[in-house]
Amino acid sequence: MAINISTAISRETVSELLNENIVIQTNNLSLYYTPEKSALKNVNIQIPEKKVTAFIGPSGCGKSTLLRNFNRMNDLIPGIKIEGKILINGKNIYDPDVELEDLRKRVGMVFQKSNPFPMSIWENIAFGPKVNGLSNKKDIDEIVEESLRQADLWKEVKERLNESALDLSGGQQQRLCIARALANKPEIILMDEPASALDPISTGKIEETIDELRNNYTIVIVTHNMQQAARISDYTAFMMVGELVEFNDTNTLFTHPDKKLTEEYITGRFG
């Protein structure tokens, strides 16, 4: 796959990425919430397959905005304007023949604040498969168990699948949301600060879950916690005021960042 050489991506990373299969690629992506205010400016990024990619950057720099573009959740915002291309597996997701529901099925999402539906645990997980046309109870049962296992939640909830999901603890609810996203068998999972509202133990569990998923899914995660990014991600993107400053191998980015801005940010001299 052709790689767009941009200043944000270091030479070594480019050569590294050449060996990877690129799943998400943006070409000069700009986004305006209002005509005067751009939230993303000419972002060019390549996200490799079956790796964990972290987005870091100061608050309001556009991490969530970029992430939400990958499954077109931004489409709903009135007055929004998006320029440039987002290619997923080489296909521009804004092409008219791309079906929105199908895209969202392939690109799952976990939100910052856990948002289980006020239904039973089982129904929460079954929601995705059901709206995507599955109706056989046995098949769905299988998917429910598998997804819960993948999210490390099966042992805790297998006895109470019919109880309300709202009775779970905060950490369990978030893992339920991960399982819910997994039930659609997506290729990509987008996570927007999935652990920011959780205690350290729950956070650890989420990180474990991500670690187990990394071999089978492409994961893009937004985080404010730099240690977390360093711990779990293979690649890291550092953003500032809507621009992609540096995209690099996580190790390199945190030890020998290419850009001065990055260094200032990770050493805490900034913001």
């Binding site: 499954n71 959740m73 099925k105 289980p116 539906f117 006020p118 929601f127 709206v131 709202l166 659609n184």
Partner: protein
């Protein structure tokens, strides 16, 4: 103003007092209203004892003590005096022409409660008060005073049985004659314009005449048998009579088939009275009205009210919910949606009679008229749907209550967390799937709140119904065992209208007052019951869909 009182006002104590006073007054008025309706509405079913009043003159009256009051008048020395007076329900309208009299207390010589005084509740002319002289049971005459009451009761139940049998046979007779009647009707229609008949029609007339003759002959035998049966039964029924003497000494003969109930209140113990009370209450709830609605039961009105409210709910909830969903989820928010919201809210303030007139003009004349033209043209000019009926009344009320449902549903929809909506969409749900699976279930408590408000408003509304299908006395219920079971074109009775009709339109207002209270109580009870049902449902749903607490 001195320091202390300044502080007093600053602290707001007087306003607290004022607010609590306001609450107290409103609560007090509601409780007062309820108490009056309860006491008067339920008290009427208790059997009252019969009092015989002998006046200083000749007159003797027997009846129920009804009311007492004071009369202010001038005496012969031009002084203003107050006189106590008593109202007595003397019944016997067929004999004296009026049910109630006022008696000045100073004219009363004695007041007694004769043991064997009896009350006959009749299907016509109201109650008869008097003493049983003689009971005639199909040629068997009873005059033994200890037997009289029991025999009369036995006679009443026998007469009722006979009446049922007679009704059955008459029904049979009617079905036997139906085909013949149909032919005869067609013949008479053809005969009316016999001068202008086409050949075909003339042929048809001859054919019909032949058929008529044939049919007449064939059913002749069973017809005569039935007619004989009917006349013997009628004769037998008429032989069940009772001779009654009133307190004044007037004697009257009464057919037992016209007696609904007979009792001797002065001989009843508390137990007997209780049974009588329950019977009365049951008759009120389950019986048909009698005597231009001032007696008997209100079952048709209960049925009409409940059915209308249910129909209204079935109509208004889907419309209101769909409108609210569109307004909130699909419509582009802007000036137009604001105007629509404002109009919907203002619709709630339109006087109900305006809705009634709209219902009459649009639903009945235009929609109903067109339905008649297309589907019931054979019955024209007699209208089927082109006249008031339960469907049009329910539709009118649905329109009237639409704003509350829309507004409440909107509130429910707005309360659905955005995170849940986004979550559903992110899982690949279409917008409609998201609305169906996330928004509507979550908004259900709001929808039910709307329904509760709609029921409260709709069940008590009378004005728009009066021109869209309510009647004083409906011959048939809108739901029965005859195909197609639901007769939405039929007129119906309604408790609210019943109150108005009985209380203000009846020829015998005095006798109708208790009915007004009982009916009002019943209407309140039904509205409360329907509301409780909806509230129960809502609470169950609330528990299920308590929003994410985390």
């Amino acid at each position: 103003m001195n320091q202390a009182s300044k502080k007093f006002f600053k602290k707001g104590d007087p306003y607290v007092l004022l607010t609590s006073l306001g609450l107290l007054i409103s609560l007090g008025m509601v409780l007062w209203l309820l108490a009056i309706v309860l006491v008067k509405g339920l008290g009427i079913f208790w059997p009252r004892e019969l009092v015989q009043i002998n006046l200083k003159g000749e007159n003797v009256y027997l009846g129920e003590l009804w009311n007492s009051g004071k009369e202010i008048s001038e005496n012969e020395f031009e002084q203003i005096v107050e006189e106590e007076k008593t109202q007595l329900k003397i019944g016997n309208r067929d004999l004296y022409g009026y049910d109630f009299i006022w008696i000045s207390d100073k004219e009363i010589k004695t007041m007694t409660k004769p043991q064997n005084a009896a009350v006959f509740e009749r299907s016509e002319y109201g109650n008869l008060y008097g003493f049983i002289l003689q009971v005639n049971l199909n040629n068997e005459i009873v005059t033994d005073s200890s037997e009289l009451f029991n025999e009369a009761e036995k006679g009443i139940s026998l007469a009722h049985e006979l009446k049922i049998k007679l009704d059955e046979i008459e029904e049979e007779y009617n079905t036997l004659l139906t085909p013949l009647n149909k032919i005869q009707r067609e013949i008479s229609l053809l005969k009316v314009n016999s001068d202008f008949l086409t050949d075909e029609e003339a042929k048809r007339l001859n054919l019909l005449k032949e058929e008529e003759n044939k049919l007449t002959e064939s059913i002749n035998q069973p017809r005569i048998v039935l007619e004989e049966k009917i006349s013997t039964l009628k004769e037998r029924l008429n032989s069940f009579t009772v001779n009654v003497i009133t307190a004044n000494g007037d004697e009257t003969l009464m057919q037992l088939k016209n007696v609904v109930r007979l009792y001797q209140p002065n001989e009843m113990g508390i137990f007997g009275k209780s049974i009588h009370y329950v019977q009365n209450l049951w008759e009120f709830l389950s019986g048909e009205p009698r005597e231009s609605n001032t007696e008997g039961g209100v079952f048709p009105a209960i049925f009409g009210t409940v059915m209308m409210v249910i129909l209204m709910s079935i109509l208004v909830v889907p419309f209101g919910v769909l409108a609210a969903v569109y307004l909130n989820e699909y419509a582009k928010q802007g000036a137009l949606t604001r105007i629509i919201r404002l109009s919907v809210n203002n619709l709630a303030g339109v006087p109900s009679i305006v809705f009634g007139i709209f219902g009459l003009g649009f639903f009945i004349y235009i929609v109903g008229g067109s339905i008649d033209q297309f589907f019931f043209s054979d019955k024209l000019p007699a209208p089927t749907f082109g006249t008031g009926g339960i469907l049009w009344a329910s539709l009118t009320l649905a329109l009237l209550t639409l704003p509350v449902v829309v507004v409440a549903t909107e509130e429910g929809i707005l309360a659905v967390p955005k995170a849940n909506k986004d979550g559903a969409l992110a899982l690949g749900a279409t917008k409609w799937q998201m609305i169906k699976k996330v928004v509507l279930p979550n908004a259900m408590p709001g929808i039910l709140t709307g329904l509760i408000l709609a029921i409260s408003r709709g069940a008590g509304e009378v004005a728009p119904l009066m021109i869209t299908g309510v009647v004083k006395l409906a011959p048939d219920m809108p739901l029965d065992f005859n195909f197609p079971f639901f007769h939405l074109d039929r007129k119906f009775m309604h408790l609210g209208f019943h109150i108005y009709d009985v209380g203000f339109q009846s020829p015998n207002v005095e006798a109708a007052i208790p009915m007004v209270y009982s009916t009002a109580l019943l209407l309140i009870a039904i509205v409360v019951f329907l509301n409780l049902l909806a509230i129960y449902l809502r609470n169950r749903l609330r528990k299920k869909y308590k929003s994410s607490s985390f």
